[in-house]
């Protein structure tokens, strides 16, 4: 759980900086979409047996492009934005991959990963949404 909170902490801080702070009144779906895009991809990539390292790195780009698209941009002129979102997305994807591995090894889900994945997804979504609300309330005060 320590790894999860750290990964989510970094993620929310980055997407707050480059996404949430630029948009007002986001719906839950829109607020958590960048993270969900990463989760969805890494789940599929793992299921297909692709290489963890390379796909986790690719998730860094998925996070960036998700943010770009949600902020109505095709490109960014900020190298820092690209670098930060890439690192955060990569770490998150890597963490999720390990989590899914662990769940499988613990034999919590002998018939397939879907229920565990759903559980993980809902837990992370809730945490991110809560974080969004906290950060937004903090910034409004």
């Amino acid at each position: 759980m320590g790894g999860e909170s750290e990964a989510i902490q970094k993620l929310t801080s980055a997407i707050y900086k480059w996404y949430w702070s630029r948009k007002n009144d986001l719906s839950r779906d829109d607020a958590i979409k960048p993270a969900l895009d990463v989760l969805e991809y890494i789940y599929k990539a793992r299921k297909e047996g692709l290489d963890k390292r390379s796909e986790a790195a690719y998730c860094g780009s998925i996070l960036l492009y998700s943010v770009l698209s949600l902020t109505g941009r095709r490109h960014t002129s900020e190298v820092d934005e690209a670098n930060e979102l890439y690192e955060v997305g990569k770490n998150l994807a890597s963490f999720i991959w390990d989590e899914l591995d662990e769940m499988r090894n613990d034999d919590k889900d002998p018939d397939g990963l879907d229920p565990t994945y759903s559980e993980l997804l809902s837990r992370i979504s809730d945490t991110i949404w809560k974080k969004y609300k906290t950060l937004k309330e903090g910034s409004n005060e």
Binding site: Y41, K44, A45, E48, L50, S54, E55, A57, Y58, G60, S61, I62, L64, Y65, L68, R74, H75, T76, S77, V79, A82, N83, Y86, E87
Partner: protein, 674 residues
Amino acid sequence: MSSKILVIISAILLAFLLGIPVNAHVVSEKEWLNDPHDHGDAKIVFVKAYQFGFAIKAIQDGSKIIVYPEGSEPSVLEVEEGDRIVFRVISGDVTHGFYIDGYTPTAVGDNRIVIEPGKIVEVGPITFNKPGKIKLRCSVTCGPLHPFMVSDIIVKPNIFFYILMASTFTIAGLTLLYTSRAPENRMLGVSLDKDLDLLKVRVIGPILKRFLQWRGAHFTLILPNLLIFMVVLAAGFFGNPTGNKNFSIAVVWILWFAAVEFLILFGSRTWCTICPLPAFGEWIARRRIYSVHNPRKWTSLGKKWPKSLNNMWVSALSFLGISLIVPWLVTRPVVTGLLFALLIAIPLFTHIIFDPQRNFCRSICPANGYIGYHSNASIFAVRSRDKSVCDKHRPKECIRGSPTGYGCPWKIYPGGHNENTYCGQCYECLRSCPLDNMTLKLRMIGQDLAKIAAKAKNKFDEAWMGFIRFTLAVFYELVFFGPYFWIKDWGNMGIIYGANLATIGLLTPSLEGLNNWFKWALIVAGVALVGYPAVFYGFSWLAKKLAGENGISTRQLFLSFSYALVPYGLFLWLAFAFSLILVNWAYPITAFSDPLGWGWNIFGTKFEWNPISPEVLPYLQAPLLLIGLALAINTTYNIARELLNDHAKAFRATLVMGILHTMAGLVFVWIVAG
């Protein structure tokens, strides 16, 4: 008898229309030579047309007649300015045509002078009043090598030849004089530091950017070409066996072969952008036609591409190999069909077996190698706007890929590259870069050449690509548009038939044909692989000695200086492309309406062969040669300056290499005008 009357009527008609009398009557070859006619002060030249050349059998001047024995007939006719010549022409085999650039009428319809077997056709008297070298061509399709059935007529004094020789020396001298003034990073007076960001040009830039960043752009550009390739295959296997009547030959080896040289100069690797050869493999490997796959799973065994193939050797040698059978390849549809089938199958195989990238394009494709090599002399390039941005940017989507674009399939780092050699212009980097840092640049020829050449430590493959391309430009001009029948015949293995899949057996060569072909292959490969490189090495050694430079090996100078052939070779090929397209433009245009050569006229673009002012060809080719020479000398200086870091030494080395480039230019001058 009736055909005799017809010939006489058409001859009289022609004479009436053009003022050049043409008479025809049936006689034996013996009568032809032994019964010379009196044409007053006009000389009579006895010409025998045959597949695929013209032999001057005898020349009668007044009462004096010189008869050339069989086998030693001259291929070149020399006349004095103002000479009046009557040609008495017969055919030794099939029906031929008789067309002299700038002298005989258009080669269309009834105006065409036709030489039927067993008949003598008298053409003339023609007064040769324009000094220079002109071509005598066959204007009636007579077999596979018909478009290249030519002979030379030199009207003396051949002033243009002397002017061109003097111009070659003058241009070389002026360029050397220019380099003696120590121009820093300039090419013929133009700065090499400046370029134009094409995607920032008003109106055009945004449209072009939007199109290229659209994922469907590549597919849209490939699709029409893919259809053309399908027609090439169908025509190659099942179309008319005579090359110039077949789409596969007319479109590929006349239109494409010429157009690709212009594409290289103005669009770098634009051909590779639209080439459909690797498309099937790429689509299967990606499991997508144009979108980005998600997840990134490939249909491929993913074996590692052999490191030993990560160079240009296979491309260079396969281009040479293809050139050794070029008289077959460019005239026999079935040979072209088979080559294309192979070129579609190999990339399919490489994508499925090896890592699914453009390994075939990078290392095997015979066209890609030379296109990539000469692209370094192009005015067009895909580059990053600001390299420091790419350096700071860690994700490197241009290599890894992103949700909007694949990582570079050509296995280069687009953000940092500064040469066109292995950039296939697929524009994936424009789509994948989130920083919008990739663009298209217009620049002066040779912008990056000196740097590329200076760091070429062991790039023997690229050096030999340069030698092969450079020497073959001269050979192609000589073989296809030169007057020497024997050289065409040796390369052609003496076979007079065209062939599609049904008649492929006709291409079985005789032992003598094979023997001659080996001699031809030995000459061509010998000059390209050993002869010219050896001379080049010798001059590099001399350049080192004269420059007084001991810190750099002759080998390094040899490798680096070979990059001067990048622009020089390209301009020689451009000169060759002019010969090809201006003379034979009617064949490809007709082929679009009649791809299989079955007499269709689908789009109404059927034309008879009618060259566009072929007599001005040398005047178009000469400037290209001279520009190529000047670029080669200036490039040599820039390379020497980059390597030696000293103007005086660089200039002395350039002086030596300049002599070699000038000598090579003179050879080309002799072929086109001498």
